[in-house]
């Protein structure tokens, strides 16, 4: 229990260091642009692939579970749209990103720790926590909502392709379904969740990497912990945020 509380305390002390005044904003700006590419742009591919197939499988599963004629066909499109917007584009995408981005951050910072690069920054008088972590947090907070929007569009497109090609729904019915009873707030809800999840992924993974002690084995362990802890926290906050935002 004491160990757990120590970790929590260290996490918030690290965040305090991260959000202290940057030494030179222009350098931080440059770092943030770099992180946009490494953590944001490079994640578009995996989000597109996952969302496409996710949308496709949701459409097919909904179709095969609503074969009773009392259900109008356009419900397949509606189900696909709401599932993608409410859950898959934010939560499932965040779990995937926890694996990709989280392990990347933990291993990058962890390797810098064990190879004394963080010590080198500290010796120069650079706030290493802020320099290394703040640009990553800013980049993911700003870019992950874009990934979510891409995920929504591609997911629904995947559903349309799968539905029409397999013949379970006509294009007209699907398009009517995705327009039917649309609640724009669902998009806001999804984006709010994404921002929280982005912060969890980046800060928890950076925390795991920053306090690595040892060698390559410990860096690997930190990377695994980053993914596991981020995923558990994402699922926990998914419940909490859903209760707060949709109740």
């Amino acid at each position: 229990m004491i160990k757990f509380l120590t970790h929590i305390g260290n996490y918030f002390l690290l965040l305090k260091k991260v959000f202290s005044k940057p030494e030179k904003p222009s350098i931080y700006y440059r770092q943030t642009m770099r992180e946009f590419v490494y953590l944001g742009l490079s994640s578009i591919g995996i989000i597109v692939i996952i969302s496409f197939f996710m949308g496709a499988v949701i459409t097919l599963q909904t179709a095969y579970n609503t074969e009773n004629p009392i259900y109008p066909k356009y419900l397949i499109g509606l189900g696909c749209r709401d599932s993608i917007i409410l859950e898959f584009s934010s939560t499932v995408a965040a779990l995937i990103l926890a694996g990709k981005v989280g392990s990347n951050i933990a291993s990058e910072i962890g390797t810098m720790r064990v190879t004394e690069q963080i010590d080198a920054l500290e010796i120069m008088g650079v706030n290493s926590a802020s320099y290394l972590i703040l640009p990553k947090i800013i980049a993911t907070l700003l870019f992950n909502p874009i990934l979510t929007l891409i995920g929504i569009i591609v997911g629904i497109f995947g559903g349309w392709i799968a539905g029409t090609l397999s013949g379970v729904i006509t294009s007209e019915n699907f398009i009517y379904g995705i327009q039917y009873a649309f609640i724009p707030y669902y998009i806001t809800y999804s984006l709010i969740k994404t921002v929280f999840f982005a912060f969890i992924i980046t800060s928890v993974s950076a925390f795991q990497g920053y306090f690595v002690d040892g060698g390559s084995l410990e860096v690997g362990r930190a990377s695994t912990k980053a993914v596991v802890y981020s995923s558990v926290l994402i699922l926990m906050f998914n419940v909490i945020l859903t209760q707060i935002l949709l109740s």
């Binding site: 030494e23 030179k24 350098i27 390797t111 810098m112 190879t115 004394e116 690069q117 010590d119 080198a120 500290e122 010796i123 120069m124 008088g125 650079v126 706030n127």
Partner: protein, 251 residues
């Protein structure tokens, strides 16, 4: 000048440095020697503030360094250059960007001035036409020299070197030693070098302290080290068979 007084440092209750007092002089290469695990690196990292000490004082000229907070330490840290055991070059940056990093972070020089300074520092350590290479493309000796170039980019008053020769062949090691000594004299720096390499001791050891099991056992210079009465030091100095043959017969 850096003055350490009654320094104690422990990890999880184990005393690693016990009541260390020493003065490191300006314009000299000061060596901390001792066996692996004797506490050399902990002493060096304590002096630069990477480890917080339990007791004692660390003075940089007339400033009590260990009582300063992070932001107050920045001023002194801007006068410190450090060469780490594994070079600690930033993997994601090129050689030029590595050397330029402290200039970008702490100066308002123009781009041309920064490039001039980077090239000057790289030339000074004999790194030519490697500006755009990444650390992974460099040999061990080149990495050390680039790390030295980065350490001197801001014209530091204090230079710390943690095992600068580890992993290098004897000839490259001598070149690195010579470079450290030249730079120390050229910029009149206070240089502290951690080493267990007796070649370094005999080449550049203007002031030497010997640490064993966290205690300072001996202090002197390279001319005195071969005639010491300290048995632990003699075991260290005359450890290999060649050194044993060269040991003064009276000892």
């Amino acid at each position: 000048m850096i003055c350490v007084k009654n320094l104690n440092k422990s990890f999880n209750g184990n005393l690693v440095l016990d009541n260390i007092s020493v003065t490191f002089e300006t314009g000299k290469t000061n060596l901390i020697i001792g066996r692996s695990g004797s506490g050399k690196t902990v002493l060096l990292k304590s002096i630069v503030g990477l480890h917080e000490i339990e007791a004692g004082e660390i003075w940089y000229e007339n400033i009590l360094f260990n009582k300063l907070n992070f932001s107050d330490r920045k001023e002194i840290r801007s006068e410190i250059g450090m060469l780490f055991q594994g070079s600690a070059l930033f993997d994601s940056l090129t050689v030029e960007q590595n050397v330029r990093f402290p200039l970008d972070m702490f100066t308002d020089k123009s781009n041309e001035e920064k490039i001039d300074r980077v090239n000057f520092c790289l030339n000074r350590v004999n790194i030519i036409n490697a500006n755009n290479l990444f650390p992974s493309e460099l040999s061990g000796g080149m990495k050390k020299r680039v790390a030295i170039a980065r350490a001197i980019a801001l014209n530091p008053k204090y230079l710390f070197c943690d095992e600068p020769n580890s992993g290098l062949d004897p000839i490259t090691a001598i070149l690195i030693d010579a470079l450290i000594k030249e730079l120390t004299e050229e910029y009149s720096m206070t240089t502290i070098v951690n080493t267990h390499d007796m070649n370094s001791v005999m080449e550049i050891g203007e002031k030497i302290i010997f640490i064993s099991e966290g205690l300072k056992c001996w202090e002197g210079n390279k001319n005195e080290i071969l005639n010491s009465d300290c048995e632990t030091l003699n075991d260290f100095v005359f450890a290999n068979s060649l050194a044993k043959k060269l040991r003064p017969t009276s000892k």
